[in-house]
């Protein structure tokens, strides 16, 4: 507990310090003269509401697409178990191993070919293929017994119905985990949106916060304040997802 909380506490206390107090010796556990100036500065630096709206739109679309596309693929791989499913799965797994740094320029060139530079679509569309999401879901779906599937099939349910009404409800806890990690990833991502978006009006919150980094000097207190503010939406989403997870666990628990 202590290990988890100390760095967080440090983050909050740094955001409340003035520039001079950052490096005082001995270190100030509690800021001697707490100030909200860092927060004020964050809010005045860029169109805040706009950046949050952009981030929210991009992130939500990203999460929805990831969850749908990945859960469908995971369902086909782990439950339909078509011939070659393992090969496809292996390919998915493999694709995670290529470092993103090296695919940046090829991806950019593709987006350019599709004329998608400087659109939200360019930032969102990679969500359609998230190998890690498929992997997570396959791993969990495999743990579900096939009895349900057989029972539904005997009742005459089609594959889509089985996916929607049988498998997905049992997967709620995993989906919630996936949604929250994807949310976080999309919310915090900056290199891809940075390369894609040049229009100021489309700037995301993470991009905006990054401009706090000056050429020569970084104000850590302001940076921490900005980071804390940008974490709030994620924490709220997480708490919502939490309740989903709890419900999901009870649904899943019925299976035994």
């Amino acid at each position: 507990m202590v290990i988890v909380t100390i760095p967080l506490y440090w983050m909050i206390s740094t955001s409340l310090k003035s520039k001079g107090a950052l490096m005082a010796l001995p270190i100030q556990w509690i800021p001697k003269k707490p100030t909200l100036n860092s927060y004020k500065k964050v809010f005045t630096l860029f169109p805040f509401a706009r950046a949050i709206a952009n981030s929210a739109f991009i992130t939500i679309a990203y999460v929805v697409i990831t969850v749908l596309s990945a859960s469908m693929a995971a369902f086909a791989i782990s439950k339909i178990r078509f011939k070659g499913a393992n090969v496809v799965f292996a390919m998915y797994l493999t694709s995670m191993m290529i470092p993103v740094q090296i695919t940046l320029i090829p991806m950019f060139i593709i987006m350019n070919k599709f004329s998608l530079i400087n659109t939200y679509t360019s930032v969102i569309s990679p969500a359609i293929f998230k190998a890690f999401a498929v992997f997570l879901l396959v791993q969990n779906m495999r743990a579900l017994p096939d009895d349900y599937l057989e029972a539904a099939r005997i009742d005459g349910a089609g594959m889509f119905k089985i996916y929607k009404d049988v498998i997905m409800p049992m997967m709620v806890p995993t989906i919630a985990t996936l949604a929250i990690t994807t949310f976080m990833e999309a919310w915090n991502d900056y290199l891809w949106p940075l390369v894609m978006l040049s229009d100021k009006n489309k700037m995301t919150l993470t991009l905006a916060l990054n401009t706090l980094n000056g050429q020569y000097d970084t104000e850590y207190n302001v940076l921490m304040a900005g980071s804390l503010i940008s974490m709030i939406p994620i924490i709220i989403i997480y708490i919502i997802a939490q309740t989903q997870m709890k419900q999901g666990i009870t649904v899943g628990g019925v299976k035994g």
Partner: protein
């Protein structure tokens, strides 16, 4: 014979609509970039020119990038640093995640609060997390060494000492990731059918015994996922290094992805960087294949 054939075909037809979006995505966002990166790895393209169809034939150099990499000390030392990281990170991360999962599973009060607390590091961006840890690990102004100081010892010069810098980065990474894996394992624990525990109790197994012979095997698919993901992520170790040590002191924390990024975007040697990525890819691939083979021995699927 006919029936199995048509059954297989039927399955494929059933699978197509489910796989389609994902497969299209894979071709566009993964397969194509990978093919292009492969082609680039055989060129001396700088990456600082407009890419056209002529780029690859004009700059073609065959396998010389690979030969240069493999005969160079740098590649091997960065690989060694990553291995050092993994050797520290995986056991430490496993223990902490497991502890979190077990705390959450036994503690009935406060679980809601604790789950949020444990998860906050996961939700922090790496940029912020690395900056915090740079402070936390500072030998003079840092919290960790202040605590060690309370016990009358003096802490190491974490990030500025060439032996302690990597352990410092490992600490930060464990702090950031343990909540994720902890909660994931916790989900796995909750999914275990209670009848197994009852059976173990009837057999007179103690707590530790139950953990080893009942919980662990049933948890193995979950743990397998954690292991594969942390291996892949470990090899792609990057943002924390960039911010906390910039590969220092004296290159002691230089890792593969950092080199790839530097070659591609700072030295303007895109072809060389692509070859570097390919070697990194091959290493991860081989390790994952071994894992997939070995999993048959220890991973237990219910169905």
């Amino acid at each position: 014979m006919m029936t199995t054939m048509s059954k297989e075909r039927k399955k494929i037809i059933q699978a197509i609509p489910f796989m389609l979006p994902s497969i299209i995505g894979m071709v566009i966002f993964s397969l194509f970039p990978i093919i292009m990166a492969t082609a680039l790895s055989m060129t001396d393209w700088s990456g600082l020119e407009k890419f056209t169809i002529h780029t690859i034939p004009e700059h073609f150099v065959g396998l010389s990038n690979y030969a240069h990499l493999l005969s160079h000390k740098e590649f091997w030392s960065t690989l060694l640093h990553v291995v050092y990281y993994i050797v520290l990170y995986i056991p430490l991360g496993f223990v902490f995640s497991m502890v979190i999962a077990l705390i959450l599973n036994t503690e009935k009060k406060l679980t809601g609060v604790m789950r949020v607390l444990f998860y906050i590091p996961v939700l922090t961006s790496w940029v912020a997390a690395s900056l915090i840890w740079k402070w936390v690990l500072s030998s003079q102004y840092g919290v960790i060494n202040s605590i060690i100081g309370i016990f009358g010892m003096s802490g190491p010069d974490w990030l500025t000492n060439k032996y302690w810098a990597m352990p410092g980065i490992v600490l930060a990474s464990v702090w950031k990731d343990m909540g994720y894996y902890g909660l994931y394992i916790f989900g796995g624990l909750r999914g275990i059918d209670p009848t197994y525990y009852e059976a173990a109790k009837v057999d007179g197994a103690g707590k530790f015994r139950t953990l080893i012979s009942v919980t662990m095997p049933l948890l193995s698919p979950t743990l397998f996922y954690c292991l594969i993901m942390s291996l892949i992520n470990a090899f792609q170790l990057f943002p924390q290094v960039l911010i906390m040590t910039e590969g220092g002191p004296n290159g002691a924390t230089q890792v593969m992805v950092e080199r790839i990024y530097t070659y591609a975007f700072s030295y303007f040697k895109m072809g060389y960087a692509a070859a570097y990525s390919w070697l990194l890819f091959l290493i991860i691939l081989i390790l994952t294949l071994i894992q997939l083979k070995v999993q048959k021995v220890w991973v237990h699927y219910e169905s």
